[in-house]
C-alpha cells in the first residue's frame, strides 16, 4: 500500500476493484465505514456480487480479465471531459516529457516488437533528450571518492525535452490521450460486459476525485495481479490515480491488499529469484560480470536510488562481515549469479519436472494445493531426490506421495517434515500491508519438539558450516565465511541481535545506525535491509519494546504544528521507509506547499518552515540544516525523473496499459487483432484450452473463513464448522442450462484436470453479454485439497493454468476456461 489501513477514513471515494476487502480483509471495512460516515462513496467492481458489493454504494459487474478496457475507457472519459487534475498532472507526472518521435503503436503492438523473441526492443520508447548532466563528484556525490568505495563510472543524466503546454504531439500527455481514444464507452462495455449506464455512473463518481482537494483511493488484490497482464493492470490503476491527483494524498493512493500476514515483509526481504533484500537486482552473469558492472548498470543517474551502492555494499558487509573487503570486492562473487533465464515459481516446477531441481526446501508453503496447474506440480515433485518441509501441519506438499491414485512405492523422494512454531510461540517482526513493521511477542513455548523457522534455519547453517569446515567441497568459504553472529549465551538464535544487523550498524564500533541515510559504500557500515533501517535504533536496550518496531503509542498527534488526527499513528510500530506512513506525500500539496485539501493536511509550508502530520517524502532539510523552500515539484524521489510515469519504459509489454484477452478467453479482442499479451512466454505443460470445448469463464477466490491452501484453517474445527465444504458458485441461468440445483455435486473440468464441488446456485453471478454474445462465469474458492485436517475437497488449482504475467510471471489464476456438468451418481 502506498497509504495504510487507517488512512482509508480520509477518502472521498473508495474503489475496490480486483479485490473483495469485506470478505478477505474484513477489518479494512472499519475504515471504509469511517469514510462513508463522512460522506464517502464505496464502489465495488468485480465479476461477482461479492460480500463487498453487498455493502457498497455502487456495484459494477465486469468479466474477469477486462480491467484495462474498463480503466482505459475511464481515462478517455477523463480526457474528453477535462476531469484530470491539471496542475498535478503538469507538475508531478511526466505528462510534459517528449518521447522519441519514432515511438508508435499499431493494432495492439507497440514499436520495437520482436515476434520471434516475444519481446520488445524499447529504444523508441525512450524520452527525447537534449544535453547531459554528469554527477557532481566534488559535491553531492563526493562519497564515490572515499577510500574503500569500489570504483565505478558514475552515471550521466540526460536532460529531457519538455512541453509545459502539453500540446506537442510527442509529449506523453498527447500520446496517452491519443492511445485511449479507441476506448469508447461502447467498446469498454462490450468487452467487459458492464452495462453502459452503470459504467458511466461509476466513471462519473470516481472521476469526481480529480477535483483539487478531493481524494479517491483504490483497493485491489489478486483480482488485478493474477492475469497475464497483471502488472499492467496495476499500472493502469497508478496512472488513473496520477491523472486524478490522488497519489500522495491522504485518503488516496494505490493500495494492494496483501493476502498473507507477512507477504510484504517476505517481499522486502527478497525471498524471490530476481531481487536481493530491499529491491535491488539479483546479480546476473550477463549484465554483472564483476562488482563494477553491477554498480554501473544498477545505479541510476538521479533520484534516491543513486544511493544504491551504499545499500548494496552494506548488504554484502552484513552477509560476509570481515571477510568482505575492498580487496575482494566485498565478496561480490559469493553471491550466485542468474543465468538470464526466468527462475520464478512456474519455471522452478518446469525445472523440477526436467530433473534440474533435485532438492527442495519449503518454509510454510504448500504448492501441491497453491500452485497453478497443481497436479502438474505434484507430478514434478516425484522427480525430487529430497524435500525439507517446515510447517505446522502435514501439508499436501509434504505428503504429495500419499495423493490419491499415487503408489508411494514408486516414489523415491526422501521427505523431512520439520515441526514449526506458530506466530505466538516465537518473537519477531511482521510487516502489514501498510508497511507497518510490528513486533510480535512470544506468549508460549512451541509444543513438543516444534521449533521456530529461524532456529531451524540456524541449525542447518551451523551443520553446513561444520561439514564444509571438516570436508571442504564446492566454494566452501561461501558457507564457512557467512556471518551468523546472532547467537545468545546458550547458542540459540537471538532475534534481537539479528534485528540490529538488519537495521544496520557501523562496522568500527558496532553501534546501530539511526536510518539508511547513515549507510556508506566504503565498507564502514553493514545493513541487512536498508528499508528496515530505523526500526531498531535504541543502542541502550535490547528490548523490542524500547525500539521503534515495538512502539505502542496509539495516539494520533501531529508531527509538527498541525492538528493531527489524520490516522498517521507515528508512535505505533515503525513504517518503512523512515516511519513514513504515506509515500509520495509531497504530492499532497501544490508546488508552493499549500495542501490540496486544507481540511486534511499532511504538510503545509508556512513560508519559513514545513508543518507536518507525516514524515516527509522529500528533502525538507538541505545539507546545512536549513529548510528547502517551495516552490518545487520533485514529488517522486525514487525515480530519476522526480516525476511519476504516465508512460513507463520499464515494462516488458508496453509503456501504456493495453487491453488483451486472457490466454484462455471466450472472446476475441475487440480493441485490436493482437489477442493476447505479446510478451508472455507459454510452456507446453499449460495445456491451454479453447472456448468451443470449454465455454465458461472461471475464477478462483478466497473466503473469510478460510485461508490460502487451507493448512491454517482446515485444521481448525471452528472454521471448518463455519464453512465446511468446497463449492462452486454459478448463476441461476447457467444452472438451468445444465440441469443443476443447489447442493448437487458438480464436475468442473478442462485440459488440466477435473474436480468436483457442491453447487451453490446464486444471483451473485449473472451472465455477461460480451460483444453481443452470452458468456457465463463461475467461481470457486481454492482452499481445499485431498488431505489435511477436518475437511477435504476438490483443489481448484488442478484447473488453473501455469501461464504467467509478462513482467512478473504471476499465474493467470483469475481468468481461465472450464466446462461443468452435474455429477452422475
Amino acid at each position: 500500500m502506498t497509504n495504510h489501513w487507517v488512512d482509508l477514513k480520509n477518502s472521498d471515494v473508495v474503489l475496490a476493484i480486483g479485490g473483495n476487502n469485506a470478505e478477505n480483509h474484513p477489518i479494512s471495512m472499519k475504515w471504509v465505514t469511517e469514510a462513508r460516515k463522512n460522506g464517502a462513496k464505496y464502489i465495488v467492481v468485480d465479476p461477482r456480487f461479492t460480500r463487498s458489493a453487498a455493502v457498497s454504494d455502487l456495484y459494477g459487474p465486469l468479466r474477469s480479465g477486462t480491467d484495462i478496457a474498463f480503466l482505459g475507457g475511464l481515462y478517455n472519459y477523463i480526457f474528453e471531459n477535462k476531469l484530470y487534475h491539471e496542475e498535478y498532472v503538469k507538475n508531478y507526472t511526466n505528462a510534459s516529457w517528449l518521447v522519441n518521435p519514432d515511438y508508435g503503436f499499431d493494432d495492439g503492438l507497440f514499436s520495437g516488437y520482436d515476434e520471434a523473441g516475444r519481446k520488445y526492443d524499447k529504444a523508441t520508447w525512450q524520452y527525447d533528450t537534449e544535453g547531459e548532466t554528469p554527477w557532481d563528484t566534488e559535491g553531492a556525490f563526493a562519497w564515490v571518492n572515499k577510500p574503500g568505495t569500489p570504483a565505478f563510472t558514475t552515471p550521466i543524466g540526460k536532460t529531457p525535452k519538455k512541453d509545459e503546454t502539453l500540446s506537442d504531439p510527442n509529449c506523453v500527455f498527447q500520446l496517452m490521450k491519443k492511445h485511449y481514444e479507441r476506448y469508447t464507452p461502447e467498446i469498454a462495455s462490450a468487452v467487459s460486459g458492464m452495462p453502459i449506464d452503470r459504467m458511466m455512473e461509476i466513471w462519473e463518481t470516481y472521476a469526481s476525485t480529480g477535483q483539487p482537494g478531493k481524494a479517491g483511493t483504490i483497493m485491489y488484490a489478486m483480482g488485478m495481479t493474477q492475469h497475464t497482464y497483471g502488472s499492467q493492470n496495476v499500472r493502469a490503476m497508478a496512472v488513473l490515480q496520477l491523472l486524478l491527483g490522488n497519489m500522495g494524498m491522504p485518503g488516496g493512493g494505490v493500495n494492494a491488499l496483501r493476502g498473507e500476514s507477512n507477504v510484504q515483509g517476505s517481499t522486502d526481504m527478497a525471498m524471490l529469484f530476481h531481487i536481493i533484500p530491499a529491491y535491488m537486482a539479483t546479480p546476473n552473469a550477463t549484465k554483472h560480470k564483476v562488482l563494477r558492472d553491477y554498480l554501473e548498470k544498477e545505479t541510476p543517474s538521479g533520484g534516491y536510488w543513486t544511493n544504491k551502492p551504499k545499500f548494496f555494499i552494506s548488504l554484502l558487509k552484513e552477509m560476509y562481515g570481515d571477510y568482505a573487503t575492498a580487496a575482494n570486492n566485498y565478496a561480490f562473487d559469493m553471491m550466485p549469479k542468474l543465468n538470464g533465464k526466468n527462475h520464478s515459481h512456474i519455471a522452478m516446477f518446469e525445472a523440477m519436472n526436467e530433473g534440474t531441481v533435485k532438492g527442495l526446501f519449503l518454509w510454510g508453503q504448500n504448492p501441491a494445493v497453491g500452485g497453478p496447474n497443481c497436479s502438474m506440480e505434484r507430478n514434478a515433485m516425484e522427480k525430487l531426490d529430497w524435500m525439507v518441509a517446515v510447517d505446522l501441519w502435514e501439508t499436501e506438499t509434504a505428503s504429495f506421495w500419499k495423493a490419491p491414485t499415487i503408489d508411494p512405492s514408486t516414489i523415491d523422494t526422501e521427505v523431512f517434515l520439520l515441526p514449526a512454531a506458530c506466530h505466538y510461540e516465537k518473537q519477531g517482526s511482521i510487516s502489514n500491508s501498510g508497511r507497518w513493521i510490528q513486533w510480535r511477542w512470544k506468549a508460549v513455548d512451541p509444543p513438543g519438539d516444534a521449533m521456530d523457522d529461524g532456529e531451524i534455519c540456524t541449525e542447518i547453517v551451523h551443520a553446513l558450516k561444520d561439514l564444509y569446515k571438516a570436508e571442504g567441497g564446492a566454494l566452501p568459504e561461501a558457507i564457512t565465511e557467512l556471518t551468523w553472529d546472532y547467537m545468545d549465551e546458550n547458542d540459540h538464535l537471538d532475534i534481537t541481535k539479528l534485528a540490529r544487523a538488519i537495521n544496520g550498524y557501523t562496522v568500527a564500533d558496532g553501534k546501530v545506525v539511526a536510518n539508511f541515510t547513515k549507510l556508506a559504500a566504503d565498507g564502514s557500515t553493514a545493513c541487512g535491509n536498508w528499508l528496515f533501517s530505523g526500526y531498531w535504533t535504541n543502542e541502550d536496550s535490547m528490548d523490542p519494546a524500547d525500539q521503534p518496531t515495538g512502539a505502542r503509542d496509539n495516539t494520533d498527534p501531529t508531527r509538527k504544528g498541525l492538528d493531527g488526527g489524520m490516522g498517521s499513528h507515528l508512535g505505533w510500530s515503525f513504517c518503512w521507509p523512515v516511519n513514513r506512513r504515506i509515500i509520495y506525500n509531497r504530492a499532497s500539496c501544490d508546488p508552493a506547499g499549500k495542501p490540496w485539501n486544507p481540511d486534511k493536511p499532511l504538510f503545509k509550508w508556512t513560508g519559513s518552515e514545513w508543518l507536518s502530520n507525516d514524515v516527509p517524502d522529500f528533502g525538507n532539510k538541505a545539507a546545512d540544516g536549513t529548510e528547502t523552500k517551495p516552490p518545487n515539484s520533485t514529488a517522486f524521489i525514487m525515480l530519476p525523473e522526480g516525476n511519476a510515469r504516465l508512460f513507463a519504459q520499464g515494462m516488458a509489454d508496453g509503456p501504456f496499459p493495453e487491453h488483451y484477452e486472457p490466454y484462455e478467453s471466450p472472446a476475441t479482442n475487440a480493441l485490436s487483432s493482437t489477442q493476447n499479451d505479446p510478451a508472455v512466454v507459454v510452456w507446453e505443460s499449460a495445456s491451454l484450452g479453447t472456448k468451443d470445448k470449454f465455454p465458461i469463464v472461471m475464477s478462483t477466490y478466497r473466503l473469510t473463513e478460510h485461508w490460502q491452501t487451507g493448512g491454517m484453517t482446515r485444521n481448525l474445527p471452528w472454521l471448518v464448522e463455519t464453512m465446511p465444504k468446497m463449492f462452486i458458485e454459478l448463476s441461476q441461468e447457467l444452472a438451468d442450462d445444465k440441469g443443476i440445483e443447489s447442493g448437487d455435486s458438480v464436475v468442473i473440468e478442462n485440459n488440466r484436470g477435473a474436480i468436483t464441488a457442491l453447487a451453490m446456485v446464486t444471483n451473485r453471478f449473472k451472465p455477461f453479454t460480451i460483444n453481443g454474445e452470452t458468456v457465463h462465469q463461475v467461481g470457486t474458492p481454492w482452499h481445499w485439497s485431498y488431505s489435511s485436517g477436518c475437511s477435504i475437497g476438490g483443489s481448484a488449482n488442478d484447473l488453473t493454468p501455469n501461464v504467467g504475467d509478462a513482467n512478473t510471471m504471476i499465474p493467470e489464476y483469475k481468468a481461465f476456461l472450464v466446462d461443468i456438468r452435474k455429477e452422475e451418481v
Partner: protein, 199 residues
C-alpha cells in the same frame, strides 16, 4: 548437538508484558469481581499480530500456568481497535482446541510436534529426532550442491551457483526469519528462490 528447544521469554520481554499491559490486567480484575469466575483472571497477557491477512490486527494472548487459554482482539491497536474477523478469532486453535468428549483444553491434534521422515519408497512417515534430521539434511544439501555447483559459466564469468536446489516460502515467517532463510539460500548458491508473493 543439543538443540532441544528451551526458549524462555527473555526477561525484558516479560517486563514489557507486565508493564504495557497493565490496562488489560486492570480490566480483568474488575470483571473478576462479578459473581461468575472470570477465566481471564491472573493471566499473563502478551500482544501479538494476526497471522492471516495483512491488515495486521493486534490480538492478545492470555497465558495461565504456561499454557494459552484465550486469544482476542487488542483494544489498544489503532487499526482493529479490538475487533477480529472469523479467522483472527480462531488463531487460538492453531495451538489448542477443546476436546469434544471431555471438554478439556488439548493441543490441536493436527499440529506437528515431532520431526518426521519419509524414506524413499516408504508408505508412511517415521518419527525422528532433531539431531539426526539436521545432520542428514545438511548432508543432502552438501551432496546436491557440490555435485551441481557451477563456478564459472560458458563465458568464463564467475557465477557460483547451483540450479539443483529450490527454496519456497514463506510469507508466514517473521521478517528476521525471512532474512535468514534467503541468506542461507544465497550462501548455498541457490537461484530458484521463490515464495507466495509470486503466486
Amino acid at each position: 548437538m543439543n538443540i532441544t528447544r528451551r526458549g524462555f521469554l527473555k526477561l525484558s520481554g516479560a517486563a514489557f508484558a507486565a508493564g504495557a499491559l497493565s490496562d488489560f490486567v486492570g480490566q480483568s480484575t474488575a470483571l473478576a469481581a462479578e459473581p461468575l469466575e472470570w477465566r481471564l483472571a491472573d493471566v499473563k497477557e502478551t500482544p501479538s499480530i494476526c497471522c492471516y491477512c495483512a491488515v495486521g490486527c493486534g490480538s492478545i494472548c492470555s497465558v495461565k500456568d504456561g499454557e494459552l487459554i484465550n486469544m482476542e482482539g487488542d483494544p489498544d491497536h489503532p487499526v482493529n481497535r479490538g475487533s477480529l474477523c472469523s479467522k483472527g478469532s480462531a488463531q487460538f486453535q492453531l495451538r489448542n482446541v477443546y476436546d469434544p468428549e471431555s471438554g478439556d483444553l488439548i493441543l490441536n491434534p493436527y499440529r506437528q510436534t515431532k520431526v518426521r521422515y519419509r524414506a524413499a519408497g516408504a508408505s508412511e512417515f517415521e518419527d525422528k529426532d532433531w539431531d539426526w534430521a539436521i545432520t542428514e539434511i545438511a548432508k543432502r544439501v552438501k551432496k546436491t550442491r557440490d555435485e551441481s555447483f557451477e563456478t564459472k559459466d560458458s563465458n568464463g564469468v564467475t557465477v557460483n551457483r547451483t540450479e539443483a536446489i529450490g527454496f519456497l516460502g514463506g510469507a508466514g515467517l517473521d521478517n528476521e526469519e525471512c532474512y535468514l532463510v534467503q541468506k542461507l539460500a544465497r550462501a548455498v548458491g541457490v537461484t530458484y528462490i521463490e515464495h507466495q508473493a509470486r503466486i
